[in-house]
């Protein structure tokens, strides 16, 4: 960079802050000092001009895509709906998935959990369960439900390294009827987690694992639904929250949950 009247050393010091200056991230005092320097330094003035021009170009070019009026109306109608209604499936996820999700969310949030749960507990956990149900149904409705395809837990577990901020143990499946199909990264309430898919006699079962946080709503423990619908198990262990959900029999869901509980102890 060419030096201005204030000298090259001085300019280098200003240049490091040039983006902060143009992005409005300096204090008022620093902004005034910068203004004064730019007025007296042709080099920094030219550099500023170039960067401002770049910012303007990106701003103009970046305002590129406009939603259709039909799409806006659709989202607006849905945004006016009462919170808790599960309308958020993707457009291409198909009616089957959407209807299944609607049914599931309805069943779960209306209190078909364990008889031991109070209505208040069901309401508190309802949002979480709606989201868990969404994740399960949406994943199964997807053309490619898993991103790491493997029946080997020694392949699936390392795949999550660097993708989620915690580690977990997977159970040994030898001598059991469960088969691991694979996994993917997922999000629950803006927190990343692991979503594993298991198969049991053609039934697909999701196991979702997240870090436990102080603000999490309490889990109901066992939360099996009616035999004809989905069953769930949820618990917290070693700082992790586990959810097992599927349309297999409640005792099978419980069995898989127990295997995870045992694996977590090792």
């Amino acid at each position: 960079m060419n030096s201005g009247p204030t000298g090259s050393t001085d300019c280098a010091q200003w240049t490091t802050k040039l983006d902060l200056y143009l992005d409005g991230e300096l204090s008022d005092q620093q902004m005034l000092a910068f203004d004064a320097h730019v007025r007296s330094c042709t080099s920094c003035a030219a550099d500023s001009l170039s960067r401002v021009q770049m910012k303007r170009s990106v701003k103009a070019a970046g305002k590129r895509f406009t939603p259709s009026e039909e799409f806006r109306r659709r989202v607006q109608r849905q945004s006016g709906a009462k919170p808790g209604l599960p309308w958020g499936f993707g457009l291409r996820w198909g009616m089957a998935g959407a209807l299944a999700g609607l049914f599931l969310a309805g069943v779960l949030s209306l209190g078909y959990f364990s008889n031991h749960r109070t209505i208040e507990e069901a309401t508190v956990a309802g949002t979480t369960y709606n989201e868990i149900a969404d994740l399960h149904v949406a994943t199964l409705a997807s053309a490619s439900p898993v991103d790491v395809v493997s029946t080997d837990r020694h392949t699936v577990k390392p795949w999550f390294q660097g993708r989620i901020p915690f580690a977990f143990n997977l159970p040994e499946l030898q001598n059991s009827e469960f088969a691991l199909l694979g996994g993917r990264v997922t999000y629950l309430q803006q927190a990343p987690g692991a979503h594993l898919i298991y198969e049991l006699r053609k039934h697909k079962i999701s196991v979702l694992i997240f870090q436990a946080r102080p603000e999490d709503s309490p889990l109901p423990g066992s939360a099996s639904t009616r035999p004809s619908s989905f069953s769930t198990e949820a618990w917290t262990q070693n700082g992790l929250r586990y959810f097992v959900i599927g349309d297999a029999a409640p005792e099978d869901i419980r069995k898989l949950a127990e295997m995870f509980k045992t694996a977590a102890k090792t």
Partner: protein
């Protein structure tokens, strides 16, 4: 300190969320580079936000909250996972320090770079550069707001933004030089 847009922080979900609709759609389209996928992302974002609205803390940044939901939704989509997998090496270059750029002014080449060229260059940027550039320049978010949206420290915002701008300049230069041949 330069004062940026201050958004209302109370009201119904619809009152707070719908004014962000156009911006969120634009951002979603830039991330996914596909109209249908952008619509899916936005629709899912509004669904998740509506469901979780009771947990939103009034007084905190609603816009950053919505963008964070949209971005997380994108990251778990197929194209999002693909994009982030491809840019892992670049991500590792992020550091807390601000990168120093001491290049000569490029006023002339920017004058010649038309809007389409800039759009193509933005589109070619790795997703973590594309998103931070758009949040800063198009959405005019403060570094603090960007840090909240991307869940990264402010120091990383500064260094990543600096690298994103440098990468964009290089792409534009290459395109202009290519066009001269």
């Amino acid at each position: 300190m330069y004062v940026r847009e201050v958004l209302p922080q109370s009201g119904s979900f619809e009152d707070l969320a719908m004014p962000l609709f156009d911006q969120l759609y634009n951002f979603a389209h830039w991330l996914s580079r596909d109209r249908e996928e952008a619509e899916d992302l936005v629709q899912e974002t509004y669904a998740k936000a509506l469901r979780g609205f009771s947990s939103f803390e009034p007084g905190t940044n609603f816009r950053a909250w919505m963008y964070r939901i949209l971005r997380n939704t994108f990251l778990t989509s197929r194209s999002g996972l693909k994009a982030t997998t491809q840019t892992v090496a670049l991500e590792e270059e992020d550091g807390p320090e601000l990168a120093i750029t001491s290049e000569t002014p490029e006023t002339i080449f920017l004058e010649r770079a038309n809007q389409q060229l800039v759009q193509e260059a933005i589109s070619d940027l790795p997703v973590h550069f594309r998103e931070i550039l758009l949040l800063c320049e198009v959405e005019e978010m403060s570094y603090q707001e960007i840090a909240e949206t991307l869940v990264i420290p402010q120091g990383t915002v500064m260094s990543r933004l600096s690298r994103a701008r440098a990468a964009l300049r290089e792409l534009l230069k290459a395109r202009l030089q290519g066009g001269q041949r």
